[in-house]
């Protein structure tokens, strides 16, 4: 087992990996940018090193600096989390050169599958179904020609990454140029690779992905699916397992397809095969995410496994701790991503200092978050501030548990998406499982309830100001303590 592991990430995923390490008795090395100097996750690590200014390009994406910290601190392995360098083959390669174990696939594997175009080609060679499209850098003319051939809308996708970055839907020919320019620029910016490709846009598809795991001995298992159809502008909002659209037979079929793809490239460690599932139950391979996913807790709750600890064990060289027929799924798990965004202002990023935070708790409720009182939410990184995960024996119970938990959850001082999610989990179509990737953008009717509470906000602010002034310079004779429960709760009993 490793003695010391460096976590090349920040926030909730850094904390998640630190926790996994601590349970295994591994010492942890955290890194931070200047903007994260007082972030919560650092206080859980055994050591912490500053790696540069706030912008990710100058800190969390600095391969040399991170490897330098690893060497100096004596870390034997690096866990990249998700995002940042997690799918960067050069980083995986540089780690190997530096004789530091990268906890994830090899550079060669990443190159074979991590890039969307390469992954498509791999799948096609294996005879597996993919969505029609052009694999390779496209120019404006090619996009327009493809549109003429297959019809609109089209999808532009960054070859090098995920998470909605470098993604653009093109609905009309006239938007093609701007979309291609933006996608390319965003992709270059986020992944250091501006290659963009084009494909046919399937209507009302479900996004279903299969968690896979491979070890150095060549064993590969899958841990079932996650349905991530509830997305807003290609950003996942809700992930769940099992999918209402996947039965045991389809699960096995998709699972075996996923295993085939990753086996063909000698995949080691955790990975995810993404598929589109159309309304007829046909599935199309999309890509392999060669890293731990944001939504991995959903699979953990269903299988009882600790995926991060499995990643570490596999990286050490251990065999997978279980065989395919030993994988047992139980119940239903749902995750939702709480983001610092204002759903009442088009999901504009919200920033500021957190005045108070109250996490939900209780049976089968899990919160993965780096928030605490006085946390700073800045513009520099992803807006994800917490993942709320619930488990129950069945989906309806899990949805009720999610709603209860969302109503308990309070982040005071920074607007979050919670009001949006409270409406979402009450939505009839969602509860009936009638979801697809355009559900939120096209069918879900978010009600602006903000207007309902301005009066209450004004009354409370006025009352607080009144009490503040009374405390400073009392004007009312012998003010009795405000003991409202006495009145409001009728304790004249």
């Amino acid at each position: 087992m490793f003695k010391k592991v460096l976590i090349a990430n920040r926030g909730e995923i850094a904390l998640r990996v630190i926790r996994a390490c601590r349970e295994l008795g591994i010492r942890t090395v955290a890194v931070y940018s200047e903007a994260d100097r007082w972030s919560n996750y650092l206080s859980y690590a055994d050591e912490a090193y500053c790696i540069g200014p706030a912008p990710a390009r100058e800190s969390y994406l600095k391969i040399d600096t991170i490897l330098d910290v690893a060497r100096r601190s004596g870390a034997q392995a690096i866990h990249p989390g998700y995002g940042f360098l997690s799918e960067n083959a050069d980083f995986s390669h540089a780690c190997k050169q530096a004789k530091i174990k990268f906890i994830g696939p090899s550079a060669a594997t990443m190159r074979a599958v991590g890039n969307k175009i390469a992954a498509r080609q791999t799948a096609q060679k294996l005879g597996l179904p993919v969505v029609p499209g052009i694999s390779g850098q496209v120019d404006e003319k090619q996009v327009i020609d493809f549109g003429k051939q297959h019809g609109y809308p089209l999808l532009l996708k960054a070859a090098g990454g995920g998470g909605g970055k470098g993604l653009r839907v093109v609905r009309e020919e006239k938007d093609a140029a701007k979309a291609l320019r933006e996608a390319s620029s965003e992709a270059g910016h986020a992944f250091g690779n501006s290659t963009v490709f084009v494909e046919k846009y399937i209507s009302k598809p479900r996004h279903v992905e299969i968690q896979v795991f491979g070890d150095r001995q060549g064993n590969v298992i899958h841990l079932g699916e996650r349905e991530c159809s509830v997305q807003r502008r290609h950003q996942k909002l809700v992930e769940e397992s099992p999918s209402v659209a996947v039965d045991d037979r389809l699960r096995e079929k998709m699972g075996e397809t996923a295993k085939k793809i990753v086996k063909s490239v000698g995949y080691e460690n955790a990975g995810t095969c993404e598929f589109l599932l159309d309304e007829k139950g046909s599935f199309y391979f999309l890509e392999v995410n060669s890293r731990l996913q944001v939504e991995h807790p959903v699979t953990e709750m269903i299988t009882g496994l600790d995926l991060v600890q499995m990643q570490i064990a596999v990286a050490v060289g251990d065999r997978l701790p279980l065989k395919q027929d030993e994988v047992r799924q139980r119940g239903h798990a749902i995750e939702t991503r709480i983001c610092a965004e204002d759903p009442f202002s088009g999901f504009a990023p919200a920033t500021g200092e957190v005045a108070a935070v109250r996490f939900p708790a209780g049976p089968f409720v899990r919160v993965d978050s780096d928030l605490r009182i006085r946390s700073q939410v800045t513009v520099f990184y992803d807006s994800l501030v917490a993942k709320l995960i619930v488990w129950a024996e069945d989906r309806p119970t899990a949805v009720d548990r999610m709603l209860r938990s969302l109503r308990e959850f309070k982040v005071v001082g920074v607007q979050t998406t919670i009001p949006f999610q409270i409406q979402l989990f009450q939505n009839r179509k969602f509860r009936a499982g009638k979801i697809h990737t355009h559900f939120v953008d096209q069918e879900f009717d978010f009600k602006d309830v903000k207007e309902e509470h301005h009066e209450e906000a004004a009354i409370l602010a006025g009352a607080l100001e009144f009490l503040r002034r009374e405390q400073m310079t009392p004007k009312y004779a012998s003010p009795r303590p405000i003991s409202p429960w006495k009145m409001a709760f009728r304790d004249d009993l």
Partner: protein, 167 residues
Amino acid sequence: MKFFAHSNGHDFELDIQPERDKLLITCNGKQIVLALDEAKWSIRTAFIGDRRLDFGWDRSDGVYNLHIEGIEYEVVVRDPKTESLAKVVGEGPAASQTAEVKAPIPGLITKVLLKAGDVVKKDQPVLCLDAMKLENEISAPRDGTLKSIEVQPGQAVEKGQSLFVVG
């Protein structure tokens, strides 16, 4: 005690009187009984009439931040004297002929594509604003000349901060 409260364009006139252990409040002419707990932290419980409400609150730079059912409200509370003063100050010069473009979201300026003095067309990109890893092109709202560019690449901007002016 009289107050004026403003929550994002919604204006309220409040009159607050303590009555035993509750507050009698007149809000824009409507009578309300308010009961408030004494919990010593930023999450508290109130009764507005019969309605029970868990709320969060904070006060910074004299502005109240109220958190009600997951929603953040910024409320400015003023006494009558400050209110009349604010009204006078608030009446600025009439809207000018120029169009000032402000940051729609907080973020980081990654690119500035034009410079002051350049002629721009409506919808022509002027600069790129990177917020939470998504890049946004900010374009000119109308044809004209760039009077000024207020930001530089690498600069972090707050929501509402002036970016450039088209004249």
